[in-house]
Symmetry: C2
Subunit: 343 residues, 2 copies
DNA sequence: ATGAAAGCGCTAACAA
DNA sequence: TTGTTAGCGCTTTCAT
């Protein structure tokens, strides 16, 4: 393994000079710098991160914690892949690398996070699947680790977050359904305590109220955020005495199971039940009839997350004078055929 | 930040003793060890990984490189999530952590990998989306980094890999279709040079030959491995003069776009075109009619990958005497309704 | 503009 | 059984 010592020896320079040349410090002769850079490239030298980290106290890496539990995460590979790409596009400018930290299903997320923090594997963190009360946030604030949450939370504190527009989606879906003549509109909400469920439900309630419609707790359907949850949802709806004529969904893949359940009962989305899904995604795009839902740029979301994080990291904050970002990202309605009116 | 020095001071012990106690070395008084462990837990001490890495020359982390390019990755939704969980279940036993390394779409995978290797971020690597000739393999062998490839390759060398049973799937799909009376059977293969395409095509050709059926290059349909690719595939099939009566797919989400294209043409999977998909997944499970495809335990795949990797890592090889693993993981047929015979 | 040297936190070899 | 100390690779301060 080639270290800086070998490189310096090979060039008949001191390791100090080589280090300065490599790191773009001003007080190096241009000719010397060129020699060093050339030799480093030729020899394939890459600085050992452990040595740097120990000396500088940072790692030049950013972590993105994801949870592997199917009913917890509420998002799929493709969701994160898109977001990662956006995050990296920003980090790359600062020579920061992104590492994804997958918390195993059988491990407590806070314990996992604590281990990662303790190891000092990363300089900053993006956490996802934020819960209503999220102890990870307390942990990160306590350890003074820069972070940003993907998903707002009730946990108090002056920390940055970004979130999808769950309440806006609920509101606009209701607006659209009411305009189409619906008055019995159900809402599918998560069965766990992930915060987006509360936000979505609040948006749903507020929209009903604004339209002068009564809130019926029996129309709030709690199901796991998965395809299977959608299937169960369909089952539950079919079993109701007084079925809703429309439903709004909090999660992108619920529609898939719901479509299936309706098909098995000989019912058709749009004609027999108006459905407005959540996030437009590759799967929803190929369902028949096409799902009415909301579009979002995953890449832009990733970019915003990275910028919000850097805005809170010493050494980068001056380049991203955003303060403590707390922002909902907008989503655009995608017209489909799944919410044709009843009359 | 609490380091080992503070911890030792707090206990009136030398840092050497504390280190030995923490690392389970034998020559420590039981009582002393208990005190150290208690204090460490109370104070929330976690050893600084940079210090350890520098001293020991390892990082106690394993990397899993994934590629973010949609048409390359060939996997979807929760594929990696499932595999990660299996990998972690093995690594956890050895206090190794898993970090996912997402290669940005706009970066060359070999260059990215080289950076990660150079940084010495991880002790071992799992690489995915293996290409027919994969320079990453040469890189890893050259750097003597323990690794395992998810996907076999033509790149020569004595390195471990695991792969899905692409040829077996092609063979068994053909067997099934021929038994049902089909003779014009198409194959959807990837449009890039990912190795699974070659393996799949070889299996397809061999199976045809065994059944005495002619190989018609016009029945080999090259499409991107995505939902959209499936949609294009449907378009291409509908445009053919002499349409096949059946098709086998190399990628799990092709069926989605294909179903959609058929539906738009008023055709029905199973009745008008027999379809055998690739991997059973949450999405395929909710398509109508249910897709005939092949099941695989992602968790077991992850476990096997981790074991194959550890079998090639100094310090772990003795616990996993597997040699250089080169193995295809079996997949089970899942009966659906998408391949009902023509007669 | 360059060299010499200290020291980041930790483990392991050696001494006691 | 415990304490002492060298040194992993690197950056940075201080001399020169």
């Amino acid at each position: 393994m080639t270290g800086i010592r070998q490189l310096a020896q090979h060039l008949n320079l001191s390791i100090g000079t080589v280090s300065r040349a490599l790191n773009g410090k001003p007080d190096v002769n241009d000719e010397t710098r060129r020699r060093v850079l050339d030799a480093a490239a030729a020899i394939g030298y890459v600085p050992n991160q452990a040595g740097r980290s120990l000396r500088q106290g940072n790692t030049n890496a950013i972590g993105f914690m994801i949870e592997l539990g199917a009913d917890i995460n509420g998002n799929s590979d493709t969701f994160f892949m898109g977001v990662f790409d956006g995050v990296q596009s920003v980090l790359a400018r600062h020579h920061l690398d992104l590492v994804a930290l997958p918390c195993p299903t059988d491990e407590n997320p806070s314990a996992y996070l604590q281990r990662m923090i303790g190891r000092r594997l990363v300089d900053g963190l993006i956490i996802s699947a934020t819960h209503r009360k999220d102890p990870r946030i307390d942990l990160l604030m306590g350890a003074r680790i820069p972070f940003v949450a993907l998903g707002r939370s009730e946990t108090p504190g002056d920390y940055p977050w970004l979130d999808l527009d769950f309440d806006g989606v609920a509101r606009r879906a209701i607006d659209r359904l009411v305009a189409a003549g619906h008055s019995r509109i159900a809402a599918a909400v998560p069965s766990n305590d992930i915060n987006l469920g509360f936000v979505f439900l609040d948006g749903y309630k507020a929209a009903l109220k604004r339209h002068g419609l009564p809130f019926d707790p029996g129309l709030v359907m709690r199901v796991p955020s998965s395809e299977l949850g959608g299937y169960q949802l369909g089952h539950d709806i079919l079993a109701m005495e007084n079925r809703p004529s429309a439903i709004v969904l909090h999660y992108e893949l619920l529609a898939l199971g719901l479509y299936r359940q309706l098909a098995e009962a000989g019912l058709q989305p749009g004609r027999d039940l108006a459905i407005i899904g959540f996030r437009d995604n590759p799967v929803s795009r190929y369902m028949s009839p096409r799902l009415t839902c909301f579009r979002l740029s995953l890449r832009d979301l990733g970019i915003s997350l990275a910028e919000a994080l850097l805005a809170n990291m010493p050494g980068y904050a001056d380049q991203y004078p955003l303060g403590v970002v707390r922002r909902v990202v907008p989503m655009d309605l995608v017209d489909g055929r799944s919410d044709v009116p009843p009359a």
